[in-house]
């Protein structure tokens, strides 16, 4: 699975993207984030408050309960501030 991080999420995790093979327990964005939080303090810090995060799967905005698989591109970022 391809993972992308933007803005302060990227800074807290310390990278902008990565490709990960994930365990079978990861089936949704929510379970992906729970899995990553257990790996490293950077993820735990970045994902501490889901209310401050937004998610896109395959470049479309979606909810934390969205089902994901190995072929998906998942991006995690703060609420957008363009314009």
């Amino acid at each position: 699975m391809t993972l992308l991080y933007f803005a302060w999420v990227r800074q807290k995790i310390g990278k902008s993207d990565e490709v990960l093979a994930l365990p079978a327990s990861v089936t949704t964005v929510e379970t992906l984030m729970a899995h990553l939080k257990r790996q490293d303090a950077g993820y735990a810090d970045a994902f501490a408050d889901p209310a401050r995060l937004r998610v896109a799967v395959n470049r479309r905005h979606c909810g934390f309960d969205t089902a994901i698989g190995d072929e998906d591109e998942v991006a995690i970022f703060p609420p957008v501030t363009g314009g």
């Binding site: 991006a75 957008v80 363009g82």
Partner: protein
């Protein structure tokens, strides 16, 4: 309908973009919005980051939504990324239609949705200090009134 979506680091020429927008159309009205980096207090620079590909897809999707609501002839959306200074242009949304009512409404709809949906993030620099700009609830409210 004619559409142009461009994400770039360079500045853009609003006059030239508006001329290009209506070229080849029978437009009777063009409405546009240009956003600039606000000059405020000790703000020294603004850095804009985006999610390549999703940005263009999302803006195209928003233009598609606008097209379902109004009879549009042409739309241009340009947005800068990278390092900007106070006063610099950031964004241009321009809409061509037969009549002004449609052009005004669709332009406002597009900038409201761009602000809440297009994946851009601003980081402000105030001297040596940097911080990420927080999303505004007023932007969410502006977007929400189009749902009614």
């Amino acid at each position: 309908m004619k559409t142009k979506i461009k994400i770039q680091t360079e500045d853009f020429d609003v006059g030239a973009e508006l001329d290009a927008l209506i070229a080849g159309t029978d437009a009777g009205a063009v409405a546009s919005f240009t956003g600039h980096v606000r000059k405020e207090g000790d703000l020294t620079a603004l850095k804009l980051e985006h999610y390549p590909h999703m940005t263009e897809n999302e803006i195209a999707r928003l233009i598609g939504e606008a097209e379902k609501r109004w009879p549009l002839l042409a739309v241009t959306v340009m947005h800068r990324v990278g390092s900007l200074s106070p006063g610099d242009r950031i964004v241009l949304v321009a809409v061509a239609a037969s009549h002004r009512g449609v052009a005004f409404e669709a332009c406002e709809f597009l900038i409201d949705f761009l602000k809440t949906h297009a994946p851009f993030w601003k980081e402000e620099a105030r001297g040596a200090e940097r911080h990420w700009v927080s999303a505004r609830t007023s932007d969410d409210e502006a977007m929400a009134r189009w749902r009614k």
